[in-house]
Every structure is written in structure tokens, then in C-alpha cells.
């Protein structure tokens, strides 16, 4: 009985001890790092600044779907293999998108994520929250991040016009900032950064903003300044291009295709690239453009989706000089064979039984037979490639700097000098007929060879606006050189064709489509923000 009493006495004490000892609620973290506990080491600085670049790689998966598919170069019609995605790409071709178009939302999020990463990293660097190795200049990294942010803002004002402008770490819901104000601010940021950036072009600066990439960015801003601000900046653009040319760090690849091939890293022509990798990379065109049977041509370790969809618009193909080798370096055409060169590749759907033959003609931009339309092969896969591919994507390349210079010259009354530069760029594309490489000032200033018009059953049913395109010859040259490099929409806006001309199944939808609507998801989350006026109802 005494034992029993002792037991009774000890129980509350045991209970009390247990209870006091077991109420610590600090979280034990095993598979995560936390800001509070993680100590950065100096040599992981490139991992710290990396998000602005890794984020940009997503552009490859998103950019072409809006920017090129909305242009007069490519379209994405449905076909008998069933791939249609609920018609969302047809709307891009027709310019009948609304604020819920997923592509419009996706690039918005991509660009702003880049901005927010840059803001955060700048803050980390400025406040010394992350250590920097002794041989790296902190100011240089800050400058680089500001240029990266300027790059994203360039994309934002280019696509959306007025937009939220956030340059510091904050959780305030931003209001709209005029396109021009953002333009001015980012031009200033880039100019401030130039002297702090590395002027090297090597493995360490590859895929990053060095001084020359920053200048290429600046040149692009100036080139489109009239669109962004109403004031042209041809001379400023020209100056930046001249600086890059004068640096001697870059030159044209002897072969056009080498800019885009699978092992194109550290190309002498590339000023700023999105490095890609089949293990660490991103998604690519190949699956959305090639027919499934083309798998055998490159012994792919992936199967392109159905009959493929991203197709060249025939009216654009018709503008090429047949001797221009860039047509074959950009487009997959004609009868298709397996990698051995003899086994015929076959159609599988509505043309089942026939040999796969990518024909130029496309019935319309909405629904086509499986074999119609040339397919994009610019970023040519290696034999045995998969999705993703190894081809890096050159975003700014030397040829573009040359062509920007040429355009500035052309627009400032120096057409002959412009023609010389264009000729220089064309030479590698006309190796079989070198004489054809030469263009004249007159050719550049003439109307475009593009026969605009609305197509039904393979023929133009409604030509629409036939006003000549100013500097149309030069405009065509941009198309040959930069097709499927996401710049066509911007070029078309600068040359005034995007919202005025008809092509394939597309008819002009008015000037409002020169910018995209603010994504509905953003308006929903930030109700103080107003839709771009043209899309308000």
C-alpha cells in the first residue's frame, strides 16, 4: 500500500516533466534550406545570380508560340493527328486572343519572374547578404543584374506597352507605369552599367550580360525607340552597334547553320545566348513542328507530336530567292527519308500511305492536311537528339548588330552603306551563286516581296491593305536572316505591317494588337490595375 502511495505521488511529477519537455514547436528541416539558417559561400555566387538566366531559358518554350506564330512567318493550324490545344494557337494566328490566352499569361509571368529575381539579387548584393569571391567585383555583378532586369523590361514594354515597373524588393501592388518611363529608366540603367561590366567574350561571360551583350540590348531598345516612345533613336542605335563592331570580339560564322547547330556554344557570332542542354535544358520547337515520322530522319529519342504543327506561311516562303541557302537552313522541305537517306518516311493520318512530303502550300491557318507546310529546322537536332535539344539559342548575334546598323543607316539616308552591310551578311547564304549576295540600296528601299493577302483554298481571296512597306526590301532581309528567332513580330510593328496586313487566314484586327492585353490573372490579382485601354471591353 505504501508503494502504491508512492506511485500515486510520482505520477504527477512524471506527467509534469513529460509535458514541459515536449512542447517545443520549432520546425525541424531536413530536405530544405532556409534563409535564416543557410550561409552562402563566396564561390556559389554564380548560383546566386543564376536564376535570372535559368528563368530566361523558359522563353524558348514560350516565346515562339506568341511572337513568331502571331507573325507572318509561321502558323499553327490543327491537323488530322488531332493536335489543336483547343484552338489557342489559331487565335494567335488570327490575332483574336483575349486576356485569358495562356501564352500571353505565360510570357508575362516569365518576364516578371526575371525582374523579381533580379531585384532580389541586386538587394542581396547591395546589402552584402551574399559573399562575393575576392576576384569578383560586386559592383560588376550588380550592374549585370540591372542589365538583366532591363532585358526583361525591354521584353515587357515591347509586348505589353505600359506595365508595372518594380525595381526593388517590395510586396506593394504596383500601378501602371508608362512605356516611355520604363524605357527611359532601363536605358539609363544599362548606360550606368556598361563600364562596370566585363568586356571579355569568353567561357565565363558566355550566356551572361557582358558589356557587348548590354550594348546589343541597348541597340535593340534604340532601334525600336520610335515604337516605344514616339521618338526615333537611330543615331544612338548606330553608335552602340559601331562599338560592338569596333570591339572586334565577334564575327559572322562562315556558315549560317553553324550559329544554330547542336554544339554551337561559344560561337564567334553569338553575343548573348540562352545556353541549352538535353539534360539541363528546356523544351524546343522540334516536337511541335516536325511530323512524327521525321523522328527516323534524325533518329530522335523523342517523337514529334502527331503531324506537327508550326508551319511556314507560304507567302513568306515565296519571298526567298531560291538560291538563298538560308531557306534550307531554316525550313524542312520536300520528300522525307530516314537517316539512311533511302527509307521513305510515310504519312500516318489523312495522307496515310503516301510518302511524307512537306509541301510549301498550306490550305489555311486553321486546319491542314498532315504533310502541308514547311517545318522549322533552324535549330537542327543532332542525330539521336531528344527533347530538349543541345542547341543553344543565340538571342543577340553579330549578324543582328550588323543588320541593326544597316537599318539605322538606311533610315538615316545612307542606303548604300546599308546595302554593303546587308550584302556582307548575305554572302554566306549565296555560296552557290555569290553574285546574288549583293543587294542594292534600291532593292532595300523598294516594297516588300511579301504578297500580303487573305488566303482561301491556297489562293489569295482578299488582298486587304496593299500599301507598300517602307524599306520593304530590307524588311524582307530581316525575315530571311532572323526567321523564327522571335523578332519578326517586333520587326513587323516597326515596319507597320503587324496590324495592317493580311496573311494566310489572318486579317488585320486593328492597332490595338500591337501590344498584348494584360493577362486576366494579373488583373484579377491586382484589381487596382487597369486593362490596356484597347482591350478594356
Amino acid at each position: 500500500m505504501r508503494t502504491m502511495k508512492n506511485i500515486i505521488k510520482t505520477i504527477p511529477i512524471i506527467l509534469l516533466l513529460t509535458i514541459v519537455g515536449c512542447n517545443d514547436l520549432t520546425e525541424e528541416v531536413y530536405s530544405d534550406l532556409t534563409v535564416d539558417t543557410y550561409k552562402y559561400t563566396a564561390n556559389e555566387i554564380y548560383g546566386v545570380i543564376g536564376p535570372v538566366y535559368s528563368n530566361l531559358r523558359g522563353y524558348y518554350g514560350q516565346g515562339h508560340l506568341v511572337l513568331d506564330v502571331s507573325s507572318d512567318i509561321t502558323c499553327m493550324p490543327a491537323n488530322a493527328s488531332g493536335w489543336d490545344d483547343g484552338g489557342i494557337y489559331k487565335k494567335i494566328h488570327l490575332h483574336t486572343w483575349n486576356s485569358e490566352a495562356p501564352q500571353v499569361r505565360n510570357i508575362w509571368n516569365l518576364f516578371y519572374r526575371g525582374v523579381l529575381h533580379a531585384n532580389r539579387i541586386v538587394d542581396q548584393l547591395v546589402t552584402n547578404a551574399v559573399p562575393v569571391p575576392s576576384d569578383v567585383n560586386r559592383e560588376s555583378l550588380i550592374a549585370e543584374m540591372k542589365v538583366a532586369r532591363a532585358f526583361y523590361y525591354w521584353q515587357i514594354i515591347d509586348n505589353y506597352g505600359d506595365a508595372p515597373f518594380v525595381t526593388s524588393v517590395s510586396q506593394e501592388l504596383p500601378a501602371s507605369t508608362p512605356r516611355k518611363t520604363i524605357y527611359t529608366a532601363i536605358v539609363a540603367d544599362i548606360n550606368d552599367a556598361l563600364d562596370k561590366l566585363s568586356s571579355d567574350n569568353n567561357k565565363i561571360t558566355y550566356g551572361r550580360f557582358n558589356k557587348w551583350a548590354a550594348k546589343a540590348l541597348l541597340a535593340n531598345l534604340y532601334l525600336n525607340a520610335k515604337v516605344y516612345t514616339g521618338t526615333a533613336e537611330w543615331d544612338k542605335c548606330l553608335a552602340e552597334c559601331n562599338d560592338i563592331i569596333a570591339s572586334g570580339k565577334y564575327q559572322l560564322e562562315p556558315n549560317y547553320a553553324d550559329c544554330f547547330k547542336a554544339q554551337n556554344q561559344n560561337s564567334i557570332e553569338t553575343i548573348f545566348a540562352l545556353p541549352m542542354d538535353e539534360i539541363n535544358g528546356s523544351s524546343v520547337y522540334i516536337n511541335s513542328t516536325l511530323h512524327a515520322s521525321s523522328k527516323a530522319k534524325y533518329t530522335l529519342r523523342t517523337t514529334p507530336w502527331g503531324a506537327g504543327s508550326v508551319k511556314a506561311i507560304p507567302q513568306f516562303i515565296d519571298t526567298y530567292d531560291p538560291a538563298d541557302s538560308r531557306i534550307d537552313d531554316t525550313w524542312e522541305r520536300g520528300l522525307q527519308f530516314a537517316a539512311n537517306g533511302t527509307t521513305r518516311l510515310m504519312c500516318l493520318y489523312d495522307r496515310a500511305g503516301q510518302q511524307l512530303n512537306y509541301t510549301k502550300e498550306v490550305a489555311n491557318g486553321l486546319y491542314t492536311p498532315e504533310n502541308e507546310g514547311y517545318r522549322i529546322i533552324k535549330y537542327k537536332p543532332e542525330i539521336g537528339a531528344t527533347n530538349p535539344q543541345n542547341n543553344d539559342v543565340p538571342f543577340f548575334r553579330y549578324a543582328q548588330v550588323l543588320m541593326m546598323k544597316a537599318e539605322c543607316l538606311l533610315r538615316t539616308g545612307q542606303a548604300a552603306a546599308a546595302a554593303d552591310i546587308v550584302t556582307e551578311v548575305r554572302q554566306r547564304a549565296f555560296k552557290s551563286q555569290p553574285a546574288k549576295a549583293t543587294v542594292t540600296a534600291a532593292q532595300l528601299t523598294a516594297n516588300s516581296k511579301y504578297v500580303y493577302g487573305y488566303v482561301e483554298n491556297y489562293v489569295i481571296a482578299d488582298p486587304g491593305d496593299q500599301t507598300p512597306v517602307e524599306f520593304g526590301g530590307f524588311y524582307d532581309e530581316l525575315g530571311y536572316e532572323f526567321a523564327c528567332e522571335w523578332g519578326r513580330r517586333r520587326d513587323m510593328i516597326r515596319f507597320g505591317t503587324y496590324s495592317t496586313k493580311s496573311w494566310l487566314s489572318h486579317k488585320p484586327q486593328g492597332a490595338k494588337i500591337n501590344v498584348f492585353p494584360i493577362p486576366q490573372s494579373y488583373l484579377d490579382a491586382n484589381p487596382n490595375y487597369q486593362q490596356n485601354p484597347n482591350y478594356a471591353k
Partner: protein, 1089 residues
């Protein structure tokens, strides 16, 4: 005098009390009845002294009672007893005294063997007594000791002995014997000429003395102050039962059990009183024998009772996990001396799909080919793809239960094995559930030890990595071209190289996968009762969940072909452990008519989850399946994947509860739980969850004695706060992760960036609930009804709210915001309309309605600026959300374009924002509208059980009304454009709005045309059983039964089954990728030895 153990229950027995009331005899008399039970006979030879002067006979009797053990029994209405007498006697026997008192009166007396003196009028003398003997047993023939046997309208009574035998002297053949026992239906039998009366008592669920399980203890139903429903095993739904929830399907008002598919590995959805939380689903907390667990933990055959704490005042004792209600499962126990018994139950089942959807067959399809429809091709064969992917499933279940011992020392062993097959090819589930329980009492009953081990082991085919079936197989079964052969001439599967169109048979056949789960839970309690009324209890439990998955694709798997790889295999394993320590103390005290019950406790709960997975491909042979992962070459080329994770969380709580009642008439309960979780921000870890409730047993008031028809009447009301914790840990922390890689200096290095928008203020979501209930029983509770009104207000709703980019890096943040309200009424009616010796009909009808409103989506801490968010997803290629959750609206609103017409080109015409017609191509987000709601407004259930002689028939019916269903199958496959992606429904080219079919080029659209009314009434379960009685031999009991589940559905809905998902935020979506629902036929046998 020795106190009789049955005093309490006997006094409280409503039936007997009513009897006394009817007789209008003094309430004191009740005690007399009991006193006799002791059997000590007060000698009639005892001599008494008595002196009275001018007192009434009544008063004299009382005096005698005071002086002796004699007790008088008379009708109060005898005026004779008011006659005054005067006498002075000493040392006289009772006979002499009574002779004096009653001299010259109109009454006479008789002394019965148990010291009871019955006073009767002279004109109505007592007849000659008869001795009746017999045996009392329960329904299963087990002897019932301690049953009260009383002669109606008298105080004559005995208690049955250890073997159920009794013997009683009754006044005469017209006497009526009343047999009563706690938990059993009282029986009345007129003696007549019988001398032996054997009685079999039936369990009585409606009795108010019923004990129900509440959090951390039990309570008499009479004393309950909150909405608690209790379902005992005899009322469970019968037949083929997959999990515990199906046992109570339709049995409890306000609790919906939804079985939306026939996946043999699936468990039921449970929805209790509407959707009250956004992020945490609707699954109530499930507690098995005091330990939180899941529906899978226990075999349905091993369950004795299921108690549901519906309202907040009941659930508040479970604090943060009580918002969706608490389901307390109690396994079968040994409560009394039980000989070693074995019960065996086996059944075999098969299934057919509830409804086959009408798709084009090969002939229909060829008509389309002939018409040159885009996408239609004739491959020359005739295949019914649904037949190809279905099997005729045969499932069998066996349960063996062994038990024995005494109330204090006993054991229970239950083994359950299920070998289930599903409708879809290869679909199966093999489950072994086992439970062993031992109870031991020591040290003079001061210490009780309970030890358990409970667990299951399951394995099933895995048709997709990590899950039991590939959800799109059924879709391909519907849409694969019916002219395509299963295999081509070369014996290879026909495949079309498209990522969204695959041969469904090859998907199943060219996949090997197995998921195996072992869950073991040892747990036990030590109960220590040092002094009377005080009990300490320590509960310890460890739940160990181990899962291993294997999945592989052969060389001929379509993914191998598409990705040009030689096979693919993955392995993944996970372990989670949940440790629970719970210390409670209870103190019971009764003084006068005050009854007090105090509870205090502490719990510590730690969960740890760990997992690892790896995959590889390009194997030398696919015969290894997933069993030799290292042989793949993708690992060496850097393409194989690997991942691992560990996380943990803790929940610590202190709780207390006080129950008080006065004479079981006025009831009061209050509780509080103070609980902390690791999952919240530093300053918000702890929360308090109080409750208070009260009840009034009106039936116990004196004025109710005049209304004998009413046998139970109680009103009760309560208020309680419960909470919700997020399912994942670490969401308040500012986390970093190594994400994708960048190329730096020729090498790919990982980048480090935030993992999510962190929210250091993350805190508790709390629900406040008011519940008012009324209970009414009439005719001895043969009809018993309950009505409950509730209002639940959930505040600081946790959700992954959409935020703007910029300023937020990620598109959502996990935060507290918003308030939601649910109001509802629940009605439950149980009745026994027919009860004769041959035929009994019990019926339960319940109805519930709930209305939901999201009051706001803002709190001090976080404001969802837009006041709404979207949820639910159509899936590609439509790629839009289906529902909008909006302030001022109900959860479950479909949100999209309202189709009103079709134009001349066969394209939709929708209604624009201003109510005008608009071409579908011109759609703007502002044109979207509420198109219906997927949450049923009304639930009605009606269960019947009829016993006729040895037959028993159970019919369970359930229905849901006032909701809509989005018919995905129609939205995707009853549209001509879908012909480019395979087969379509027969209705594809039907006229829309009576005008014309849709155009071949009308792209798929989510429009209101595809939203249908979902109202349904189901005759869900029909079971017919036959029980054979064995008077001798080893078999005590044998029952054969046949059962059908999901038998008949009355609905206007055109999909497979209108019983679709009703939980979460996107209810009413009848997905195209799914496991179909089935009708099930079962034959079973139960034997008891």
C-alpha cells in the same frame, strides 16, 4: 442491506418508469422493487411495536415501513386508505397488526414472499400465485444474466442468474411479465397458462441509456449536449463493404459518403455538414480506438460501432483536427464473460459497369468515314475497346474473429483478407487486415492494461507510376478508333504516334507495377484508478507506414516507342511514422443529484515522413521489370532521376473538459483544447479551441408525466471552436532551393533561389459552430426523431491564394484569409412501424440540407484583392478552369460561358456580359457567368430493415438533389471536332438546341450546354439474408445472404453515374479520365462457433 448493482439502470429504465407513472403509484415504490432483488426475506414472524393516534392508514403504512423492511404496495386512489385509525400495540406480528388496521375496512392484504404487502379492495381479491420459470438469452442465444423481470403493475420482480435463468411468482394468469435489460428492447409477455417462458431479448439502439463514444471517453446518450450520432454494428449497411465509411452510408443525417468509382484501392469520400475549409479537404478526423488513423486501418467486419461528432462543441476537444468532424471507430470488444468463440464471415462479389456510355461502334464510325469527316479513318477492323480493357472481376473477402475471456481479462483477434478485382484489366487489391487486442486487470481492479496491435498489408497493380490505375486508360477505351484492331498483322499493338492518343490495351499490358503498403500500429493504454472516481490513463501509439512501389514499362510500351528508349523502370519507397503519447485524467463525482465528470489531458504527436525514389531506363532486357534498376544506361548518361525527402511535424496539446448534470435533467459541458503545431509561423503556433454546450431533458420534468405518449424529449445547444492545420510543413519558413542549372564556365551549375512566397504570419484556421438540437421519442421510442440546426463560421481560411506577379515571385501564397459560413438542418427519424413476433420492420429516414456562403476572402493578414479565385480544371485541350470561388457566393459554382444558341455555321452562341447573344469567337472573360453549382443542396436517405421469421432484408436508398454536374465526357467527345482525336459519342451529330449539329470546326469549349442537373435517387444496397438456428452442435449461428450494391439509379443525368465528386472546391466535375463506377453483386455466409 447489500446494494443491488442494477439499481441505477433499473430506476432509469424509461419503460418501467412509464409503467409506474401509468399506475399513479408513489415514486418511492420504485425502490421497493429493487429491495426485493436482494432476496433477503424479512420474516413475517418479526414482532413490531406501534402506537398511533388518529392517523390515516396511509400514514400508518409509512410508519411500518420506517420501522421494518416491509413495503406496502397499493393504489393511491383507494379512498379507504384515508380512513383514520388509532392503535397501540407491542411485540405483534405483522399479520396481527394488519388485521387490526384493516378491520372493518373495504380492503384486504396479502404478504408476498419478498416482504411486499399488497393492499387490494375486498371486492377484487388477489388470485392464487403461479411460479414461472425460464431462460433469458440475447439474439444470438447467449444467456443474459442480470435481466430484470417484473410483474407489470406490481412490485414483484427478480433478476436472472448467471446462466440467464429466472424464477418468479406471479399473482395469476392475467399477469404480464416485463423483461428489461440495458441496451435491450423491453419485452412484455402475458403469463396465461404457461409455466416456462423463455425470452430472447433484442438489442435496442434507440434506448436513451445507450452509451456513445465521445472524445476521450464515453457518455450516456441521455447526457449528451451536442450533435453526436452513433451507429452500432447491427445497423451497419450490409453486403460487400470496402471501408468503414460505407458501413454508415446513409445512416447519419448530414454525413454524405460518396463512392464515385469502383477502383478496388479507393476509399470513400466523406462530407460532413458541407465544405467548411478550403485547403484541407473534407475528410473528417478518423479515430480508431482512441488513436487517429485512416479508413483503411481497420476491417469493416471488425467494427462494433461508429460514432460521429458532428458539431463543434463535440469536436472541439480534438482542436485543430476537428473542423470536418470526428469519426470515432470502436472495434469489437469483450464486455462480459465470453466463452471462446469464433465467427467466420466470407463473401464473393462481382461487378458490372453502372452504365456504358454510347460511343460510335465500328459501323457507325464507318458512316462518318464515308462522309469524309475530318479525322475519320477506317483501319478495317471492329473493336469494342471498352470490352478490351474490362474484365469480369471476382472478389472474395474472408473475416475470422476469435475472442474470449471475462470483462476484465480477455483477448480479441480479428483477421481479414480481401482479394479484390476491379472492372479494369489487371486492376486489383489484396488486403490483409489484422488486429490483436488483450486486456488485463490487476491490483484489485486499480490497474487496467490494454495492448493492441493493428495493421494491414496491401498490394495492388500499379498502372501508372505511384497510382493504382492510369486515369486516361478509360478515356482511350472510349475514344480509340473502333475500326482499329488491338494488334496489327505482325502481332504488334496498333499505335498512332501521338502523345495524346494511345492504345489502351497496350497501356495496361505493357506496364508492370506493384504497390505494397504495410501499416502496423502497436498501441496500448495503462489505466490507473487510485481512488474511486479518479482515473489516470496513459496511451502510447506508434503508427508505422511503409510503402514500396515498383513501376516499369516494357520495350513495347508506347512511351518506350515514343521516347526511343528501351524500357523504363522506377522504384520508390516511403515511410512515415506517427508517435502519439496521450495522458489523461478523469474524475467522476456524484453527490445528491449532482453529477460531475472532469477530464484533463495532454497529447504529444510527432509525424515523420521520408521517401526515396529513383528511375532509370534503357535496359538490356525488359524481363527485369523494376527489379534491377542499376542495369539501365540512362543513369550513366545523367538522364535517370532520383529524389529523396524528409519532413516532420509536431502537434502538442493540453485539454480539459467538465461535464455536469443535475439529476440527468439539466446538462452542461464545457471544454477547451490549447494546441500548438510546428507548421505555423513563430508567433502563431498556439491556438485555443473552447466549447460550451447545455441540454435539458424535458422528459424528466414532472409536468411531462401527464403525457405518457412522449418517451423522450430533450433540447440541447452548443458552441464550439475547431481548427485546421495545413497538410504540409514548412510553409511559414523562407525556404531556398537549388533549382535548375545554368551554364557557367563550360559547366552546368545549380542556381539557388526561393522555393515559394513565404508567409511568416501563417496561423490557425478556426471554425466556430453553433448547434441546436431537439430529440423526441414517442411510443416507447418506437419512433425517435432528432432535428439539428447548425451554423458554422470558418475564419482565417487557409488557401494557396493567387497573388500578382509582380510583386510576388510565385503565383500563389499560402495564407490565412477569408470567412466562410455553412448553415444547415438535419433531420433523423428512426421508427419500428411493425413489431410482431414474426415480423419486424425498422426504418431510418434522414434528410439534410446545407447552404454555403463564402463571406470574404480577406483577413487582417492577407487580402485577396479580386475577391475570387478559380479552381477545377478541364484538362487539355480546353485548358481552362471550371469553378470560381467568390465572396458572397457558394462553394461549387461552375463559372464559364453560358451557351444559349447555335448559329447558322454550327458554332456556339453565348450570352455576353449584358445578356445579349454573342458569337463564341468573340468571347471575353467578362462574359463568364455562374452556370450552376456542383454541391447537392439536399441529401435524403432511407434505410429499411425487415425481419420476417428467419429472413432479413435490408434496403438502403440514398439521393442527392439540387446540384449540377459538368459532363466532361460529353464536353470532349460529343463534339464533331473530337473526331480528329479518335472516336466520338453517338450523340455527337445531334441537333443542338433543336437546330443543327455543331460544326466540324467548332473547337472544344467549356459552355453551359454540358452542365446537367445531377439530381438522383438510388436504391443503393439491397441485402437479403436467411439465418438458420441451431439448437445444438458446434455451430451456434449461420447466416446466408445475397447483396447488391449500387443497384438502381433514377436520374436525368446522362453520364455514367451522378454520384460524382462532391468534396473540395470543384465539386460536380465528372471527369473523362477516371475509373468507372460499378454495380456489385455479392453472396456471403456468416458462421459462429
Amino acid at each position: 442491506m447489500k446494494k443491488n448493482p442494477y439499481v441505477n439502470c433499473f430506476i432509469l429504465n424509461r419503460t418501467f418508469r412509464k409503467l409506474l407513472l401509468t399506475m399513479k403509484i408513489s415514486f418511492l415504490m420504485a425502490f421497493l422493487t429493487i429491495l426485493q432483488v436482494s432476496g433477503s426475506v424479512y420474516s413475517q414472524n418479526t414482532r413490531l411495536n406501534l402506537t398511533v393516534e388518529n392517523k390515516s392508514m396511509r400514514e400508518v403504512f409509512k410508519l411500518i415501513e420506517q420501522e421494518s423492511d416491509f413495503r406496502f404496495f397499493y393504489n393511491d386512489e383507494f379512498n379507504e386508505l384515508n380512513k383514520n385509525v388509532s392503535l397501540s400495540i407491542s411485540e405483534k406480528k405483522i399479520d396481527d397488526i394488519l388485521a387490526l388496521i384493516l378491520d372493518n375496512s373495504e380492503v384486504t392484504y396479502r404478504i408476498l414472499e419478498n416482504n411486499v404487502i399488497v393492499i387490494t379492495p375486498l371486492s377484487d381479491p388477489l388470485p392464487q400465485p403461479v411460479t414461472i420459470k425460464g431462460k433469458i438469452t440475447d439474439e444470438n442465444g447467449n444467456p443474459l444474466p442480470g435481466v430484470n423481470v417484473v410483474v407489470e403493475a406490481t412490485l414483484i420482480g427478480v433478476t436472472s442468474g448467471g446462466n440467464g435463468d429466472y424464477s418468479i411468482n406471479v399473482p395469476g394468469p392475467e399477469s404480464v411479465l416485463v423483461f428489461s435489460f440495458i441496451g435491450m428492447t423491453t419485452q412484455r409477455i402475458t403469463v396465461g397458462n404457461q409455466q416456462i417462458i423463455n425470452v430472447s431479448l433484442k438489442s435496442d439502439l434507440a434506448q436513451l441509456e445507450e452509451v456513445v463514444v465521445v472524445g476521450y471517453g464515453t457518455q450516456k446518450k441521455l447526457e449528451l449536449t451536442s450533435a453526436v450520432s452513433s451507429v452500432k454494428s447491427e445497423n451497419f449497411v450490409k453486403g460487400s463493404i470496402k471501408d468503414a465509411a460505407q458501413l454508415i452510408k446513409g445512416q447519419v443525417a448530414g454525413v454524405s459518403v460518396i463512392n464515385q468509382d469502383a477502383d478496388p484501392t479507393g476509399t470513400s469520400q466523406i462530407l460532413l455538414r458541407g465544405v467548411t475549409t478550403l485547403a484541407s479537404g473534407t475528410q473528417p478526423l478518423i479515430v480508431i480506438d482512441g488513436v487517429p488513423g485512416s479508413l483503411n486501418d481497420v476491417a469493416p467486419e471488425d467494427i462494433e460501432s461508429i460514432d460521429i461528432l458532428k458539431d463543434g462543441s463535440a469536436a472541439a476537444i480534438y482542436g485543430t483536427r476537428g473542423t470536418n468532424g470526428v469519426i470515432l471507430i470502436t472495434t469489437k470488444k469483450v464486455n462480459k464473460d465470453t466463452p471462446a468463440t469464433i465467427e467466420w464471415n466470407s463473401y464473393v462479389s462481382t461487378q458490372v459497369i453502372t452504365k456504358n456510355l454510347e460511343f460510335m461502334n465500328a459501323d457507325d464510325y464507318r458512316v462518318l468515314v464515308a462522309q469524309g469527316k475530318p479525322g475519320a479513318f477506317d483501319y478495317g477492323s471492329n473493336t469494342n475497346w471498352i470490352d478490351e480493357i474490362f474484365q469480369t472481376p471476382v472478389s472474395h473477402t474472408h473475416n475470422i474473429s476469435m475472442k474470449g475471456g471475462s470483462a476484465n481479462n480477455n483477448y480479441i483477434i480479428n483477421i481479414n483478407y480481401k482479394a479484390l478485382q476491379g472492372l479494369m484489366l489487371k486492376s486489383d487489391n489484396n488486403v490483409l487486415n489484422a488486429r490483436i487486442e488483450a486486456n488485463q486487470t490487476m491490483f484489485d481492479g486499480k490497474v487496467k492494461i490494454n495492448a493492441n496491435i493493428m495493421g494491414y498489408d496491401t498490394k495492388y497493380f500499379s498502372g501508372a507510376s505511384g497510382s493504382s490505375f492510369r486515369s486516361d486508360v478509360y478515356r482511350y477505351g472510349l475514344i480509340y478508333n473502333p475500326t482499329d484492331p488491338v494488334k496489327d498483322a505482325a502481332g504488334d499493338w496498333t499505335e498512332h504516334l501521338d502523345n495524346n492518343y494511345r492504345n489502351p490495351v497496350s497501356l495496361i499490358e505493357e506496364t508492370n507495377g506493384l504497390i505494397q503498403v504495410t501499416n502496423i500500429r502497436p498501441f496500448g493504454t495503462i489505466t490507473f484508478a487510485p481512488i474511486k472516481g479518479l482515473t489516470f490513463k496513459v496511451l502510447g501509439s506508434r503508427n508505422m507506414y511503409n510503402r514500396i512501389e515498383g513501376y516499369s514499362e516494357t520495350f513495347k510500351n508506347v512511351q518506350s516507342i515514343l521516347s526511343a528508349r528501351k524500357g523504363y523502370a522506377s522504384r520508390s519507397t516511403s515511410k512515415s511514422a506517427e508517435d502519439l503519447i496521450e495522458i489523461t485524467g478523469t474524475y467522476l463525482k456524484s453527490f445528491d443529484k449532482h453529477n460531475l465528470n472532469l477530464l484533463g489531458g495532454y497529447t504529444y504527436n510527432k509525424q515523420t515522413n521520408e521517401n526515396f525514389s529513383a528511375n532509370n531506363y534503357n535496359f538490356p532486357s525488359d524481363l527485369y521489370t523494376y527489379n534491377n534498376l542499376s542495369l539501365g544506361s540512362a543513369r550513366t548518361s545523367g538522364l535517370a532521376g532520383m529524389s529523396s525527402y524528409k519532413g516532420s511535424s509536431k502537434l502538442v496539446s493540453y485539454f480539459a473538459r467538465a461535464n455536469y448534470n443535475y439529476n440527468e435533467k439539466y446538462l452542461l459541458m464545457t471544454s477547451i483544447r490549447y494546441e500548438g503545431s510546428t507548421k505555423f509561423g513563430t508567433d502563431n503556433k498556439w491556438g485555443a479551441f473552447p466549447s460550451v454546450s447545455a441540454g435539458w431533458n424535458i422528459i424528466s420534468e414532472p409536468f411531462m408525466e401527464n403525457i405518457p405518449t412522449i418517451s423522450a424529449l430533450k433540447i440541447r445547444g452548443g458552441y464550439g471552436v475547431t481548427g485546421t492545420a495545413p497538410s504540409s510543413s514548412y510553409q511559414s519558413l523562407s525556404r531556398l532551393s537549388y533549382g535548375s542549372k545554368i551554364l557557367y564556365n563550360g559547366a552546368w551549375i545549380p542556381v539557388i533561389n526561393p522555393s515559394s512566397n513565404n508567409n511568416p504570419n501563417l496561423g490557425w484556421e478556426k471554425k466556430e459552430e453553433i448547434n441546436i438540437g431537439l430529440e423526441l421519442g414517442v411510443f416507447d421510442n418506437r419512433i425517435f426523431g432528432t432535428v439539428d440546426f447548425y451554423k458554422r463560421t470558418t475564419k482565417n481560411l487557409l488557401w494557396d491564394y493567387s497573388v500578382a506577379t509582380p510583386p510576388y515571385l510565385f503565383s500563389t501564397i499560402f495564407a490565412n484569409a477569408g470567412t466562410m459560413e455553412n448553415k444547415g438542418i438535419e433531420l433523423q427519424l428512426t421508427a419500428t412501424p411493425v413489431q410482431t413476433s414474426a415480423l419486424t420492420w425498422n426504418t431510418t429516414l434522414n434528410y439534410s440540407t446545407n447552404s454555403n456562403e463564402l463571406i470574404s476572402l480577406s483577413s487582417d493578414q492577407f487580402q485577396l484583392k479580386s475577391g475570387f479565385f478559380y479552381t477545377g480544371y478541364t484538362g487539355e485541350p480546353i485548358q481552362t478552369t471550371t469553378h470560381r470561388v467568390e465572396e458572397g457566393e457558394a462553394i461549387g459554382n461552375f463559372w464559364g460561358y453560358k451557351s444559349i444558341d447555335i448559329d447558322d455555321n454550327g458554332r456556339w452562341i453565348i450570352e455576353d456580359a449584358d445578356g445579349n447573344p454573342k458569337a463564341i469567337a468573340a468571347q471575353q472573360p467578362t462574359d463568364k457567368k455562374v452556370l450552376g453549382n456542383g454541391l447537392p443542396k439536399h441529401y435524403l436517405n432511407w434505410n429499411n430493415s425487415i425481419n420476417y421469421k428467419q429472413f432479413d432484408l435490408n434496403i438502403a436508398m440514398n439521393g442527392a438533389f439540387g446540384f449540377q454536374i459538368l459532363n466532361f465526357t460529353k464536353m470532349f467527345f460529343s463534339v464533331p471536332v473530337s473526331l480528329t482525336r479518335g472516336n466520338v459519342m453517338k450523340s455527337t451529330y445531334d441537333n443542338i438546341y433543336g437546330k443543327r449539329p455543331l460544326s466540324d470546326s467548332q473547337e472544344l469549349q467549356y459552355v453551359s450546354y454540358f452542365i446537367e442537373d445531377g439530381d438522383y435517387w438510388k436504391i443503393g444496397n439491397i441485402t437479403l439474408g436467411y439465418t438458420l438456428d441451431f439448437n445444438s452442435g458446434p455451430i451456434k449461428y449461420l447466416r446466408l445472404y445475397a447483396s447488391g450494391r449500387n443497384m438502381f439509379t433514377f436520374t436525368g443525368y446522362s453520364g455514367i453515374d451522378p454520384e460524382v465528386n462532391s468534396t473540395g472546391l470543384s465539386p460536380g466535375n465528372d471527369e473523362r479520365d477516371r475509373y468507372p463506377n460499378a454495380r456489385e453483386y455479392t453472396f456471403g455466409i456468416s458462421v459462429k462457433f
